[in-house]
């Protein structure tokens, strides 16, 4: 069964350092999402891609976060510099979405980030 892949699964870093997360969506899924989930809360959308284009990044802290999906397949989320408050689970999800579709999102296993 096809799955969304993410790496690394765990990342520990010191504040002010740079970190990067990678996501490979299910093959053929045009839409890719990055979410941040703080323990005990629901996922919060950071950025949404349709193919290689950003559809929504209104909740992305652009002073320190960046995301790209250059060829419309896999994606990288970067934080530079990391802050203590960035400690969270970072989830990637993908969806086979076309205009007027409302399909489910498939989530990857996530990257748990701890900033010391």
């Amino acid at each position: 069964e096809a799955e969304v892949a993410q790496s690394p699964r765990y990342k520990i870093t010191e504040k002010s350092q740079a970190v990067a997360f990678w996501c490979d969506p299910i093959s053929g899924h045009a839409t890719l999402y990055w979410y941040r989930q703080i323990l005990g809360q629901g996922p919060e959308l950071l950025v949404q891609f349709q193919d290689e284009s950003v559809v929504d990044d209104s909740q992305l802290p652009k002073d320190r976060f960046s995301a790209e999906r250059l060829k419309g397949v896999d994606s990288t989320l970067k934080i530079q510099p990391a802050e203590l408050g960035d400690s969270a689970m970072y989830l990637c999800a993908s969806s086979f979405v076309r205009l007027a579709d409302h399909n489910e999102q498939f989530f990857g296993p996530g990257t748990r980030l701890t900033v010391l």
Binding site: G42, P43, Q48, D56, D101, H102, Q105, F107
Partner: protein, 111 residues
């Protein structure tokens, strides 16, 4: 604004029923339901589209009242495997294909 779920937590014995509610302040096009076990990724359960439809999957079903901007998830004859945190993901008219997840409901099913 984040949808509000109720109750925040519920404890059941195996075989008992539960209802989880999700309420939004925005007009919704659809509601998605997910279950997340501790340390794992959310797993999709079902989507409900506008039109007040009700869906079911095995002993889990849901309804969507678009006029009230509310959805409910019904768990009948609960099993141990139902334990986890349930999230509704709401798709507002102003955010096509963009989900806003609720506050979550923790469900524990005991033997």
């Amino acid at each position: 604004q984040q949808p509000v779920q109720s109750p925040q937590a519920v404890i059941l014995r195996e075989g008992e029923d539960a209802v989880i509610n999700c309420s939004s302040s925005k007009a919704l096009y659809s509601v998605h339901w997910y279950r997340q076990k501790h340390g794992e990724a959310p797993v999709f359960l079902m989507i409900l589209l506008k039109g007040g439809e009700q869906k079911g999957h095995d002993k889990i079903s849901a309804s969507f009242n678009e006029k009230k901007q509310q959805s409910s998830l019904y768990l009948t004859a609960s099993q141990l495997s139902y334990s986890g945190t349930y999230f509704c993901g709401t798709e507002p008219y102003t955010g096509f294909q963009k989900l806003v997840f609720g506050t979550g409901t923790r469900l524990l099913v005991s033997p």
